[in-house]
């Protein structure tokens, strides 16, 4: 099926929102893929990090929001430290999560953890995890 690409107000609004939230210029990315090449979680992702930003560039909001990738990002900033254009992809990921439907199926919240696990885990992990992935 052919994707009808539009570069209209709706797409521009989406891209502008992502840029505002993340503080990054998504157009600066020239798709070299280095972020994906160094990402420790990329092997589990359905869409590679560079593909996420590509979809944002193309204004394909739905494809981005559906991706499992958003809930695999560990915010380790390896992408940012190696990007030749200095783009902080972790911020773009967070921006997308920010506008996502809070009941998205890949979100990970307190319900997902058993009481025994909660007793065992360091607080740091739970706080960080829920702030990132639970909505």
């Amino acid at each position: 099926m052919r994707v009808k690409l539009k570069a209209g107000p709706e797409q521009r609004k989406f891209i502008a929102r992502i840029e505002d939230l993340s503080g990054e210029n998504v157009y600066a990315c020239y798709q070299c893929g280095r972020c994906s090449a160094g990402c420790p979680m990329a092997s589990e992702m359905d869409l590679l990090p560079n593909q996420i930003i590509r979809l944002v560039q193309m204004g394909l909001e739905e494809d981005v929001l559906r991706s499992k990738t958003l809930f695999l990002c560990a915010s380790c900033f390896t992408c940012q430290s190696r990007c030749p254009k200095g783009i902080d992809l972790a911020r773009v990921m967070e921006a997308v999560r920010h506008i996502l439907d809070p009941k998205g199926k890949d979100a990970f919240g307190p319900d997902e953890i058993s009481p025994e696990q909660a007793r065992e885990l360091p607080q740091q992990v739970m706080v960080a995890l829920f702030r990132k992935f639970a909505k």
């Binding site: 070299c32 280095r34 090449a37 160094g38 560079n50 593909q51 990007c83």
Partner: protein
Amino acid sequence: MTAKTTKKKDKRIGLFVCHCGVNIASVVDVEKVAEALKEYPGVTFSTDYVYMCSDPGQQMIIDTIKEKHLDGIIVAACSPTLHEKTFQEAARLAGLNPYQIEIANIREQDSWVHTDREKATRKAVRIVKSHVEKALRNENLEPIKVDVKKRALIIGGGISGLQAALDIAEHGYEVILVEKNPSIGGKMIQLSETFPTLDCSQCILTPKMVEVSRHPRIKLLTYHEVDSISGFVGNFKVRIKKKPRYVDESLCNLCGECEKVCPQIVPDEFNMGLSFRKAVYLPFPQAIPGTYTLDEAHCLGLSPVRCGKCKDVCDKMAIDYDMKETFFEEEVGAVVVATGYDLYTMQALGEYGGEKYEDVVNGLEFERILSASGPTGGVVLRPSDGKVPKSVVFVQCSGSRDTEKHNPYCSKICCMYTAKHAMLYKHRVPDGQATVFYIDVRTGGKGFDEFYQRAVEEDKILYIRGKVSKIFKEGDKLVVWGVDTLTGKKVEVEADLVVLAMAMVKADGVQDLLKKLKVSTDIHGFVAEAHPKLRPVESLNAGFYLAGCAHGPKDIPEAVAQASAAAAKVGDLFAQNELVHEPTVVPVNDELCSGCGICITMCPYGARSLDPERGVAVVNEILCEGCGACAAACPSGAAQQRNQTDDQIFSMLRAMLRE
């Protein structure tokens, strides 16, 4: 504060207002402007015309000057950068001094930037009036003439310097070629084969090297350096340093006995540190001049007390420890800067191991590995253990196209030489695996794309689109982390050898020299051309030309083209017996000058200096470009630009503000 220039009240000024088709006339009422100026004091004749720059337009000017005995004219039209010369020439033909021409810009500064017809017309009147005031104070000026020394200095003996030298010498002029290394050849002599023909680099370069060394009009000075330069275009004095070779070139017969006995072992720079040489060495077999050189920095002590072995075995008595650094001067008229490039340091790429891993090499190191005269005799072996690498990974864009930490520009040649490297590797190790990681493949030259396709289709090299994130060692293999953005897969490749296409950067150790020459460089340290589109081989500093990678990354065909172009420009200069320079310079009024020196620091062209005896500033009119910075800065008004004095400028302002 300013000396008044004489206003010649009885001057007869002619005004010609141009319509420029509709460019001016559609906004400015040109007839009204001509009419408004008819009675202005000083204006004898005023008219308008459709296209002043056309033949009939110019003829009108010539005829009117003669008929009305005009001694100054104003053309109200487009910017002077376009047609000032045209009208100056017309005036000259009519017998009027060309510097009595004023161009009033009522297009770029009026009709092209405004829409209100009434206001634009009134503005045009004001502009023209101001120029009348200036014209009433203009003086006749004569262009400044100076001799030209028809001898060229070329700095750098790589392919660009050699080409320029040959072209200028063939024109019939003398050339001095200064090269800081013991031999000419530059980087090109280190290459194995060149794209897209796969010509043996040394085979195509050495004939040029020999030609240069034998040319009757070329003075080849290797192991020399330019120490300083003074003077101006057509009249430079260069101070050259002759470094002591400790070997008499005319006596050395290349027998090689000295090398055999020398106890000092030094990493061989010609082989990029992959092998060793002695302190007394021949850089490479085809070195020109064909002589050994004793490297002072690594010699045990240049004295028979410390060692003396090389001198002992030299039959020809060519070795002389007492040689000293000497200086001498040469006079030249033009300088061609062809100082070449270096490769970006691998140390900056910590994610690729920095310089930790022996088996991660750069392009020039791989050239030496491929080269038949290299450390492995042309057999592809890896530096760490000398084994034949069965998997080689080539990484493009290493340190280039990176706005964040490294060099933002594209290094231009890497895509082509990587394809070449991969092809040559496959030709020699047919069962080896060659993988190239790229972001784009740039193949703009003639036959380039076909060459790259050959690599992919015939030599079956795997091109993966993705920039490598990390290279590290595990056991005796190198692990390369990349990605295939086209299929969306993160990939890991095990390699025996990795070749990084490091970015071309400015040549090491040349920045100081460029500062001394006052040749401007861009933000990356490359020599800056006068205009990126239309003047690619000249520097803004008159008399300096540029060629080759000193100007920026480029391949051999482009370097040669640029070198020949620079030679042609030098030819332009030398074709004249005299140099003519615009007289609208800024002389010094000795009586007003206090010798404060402010103007000297302001001058970007180095045209001003202090006369220590008289305690006043002096200007070298040939170097002065009439920018006016000194005139603006001068506190006493001693610096006044010819035909643009403070008095003239104030009179223009008064005319504009009077309305």
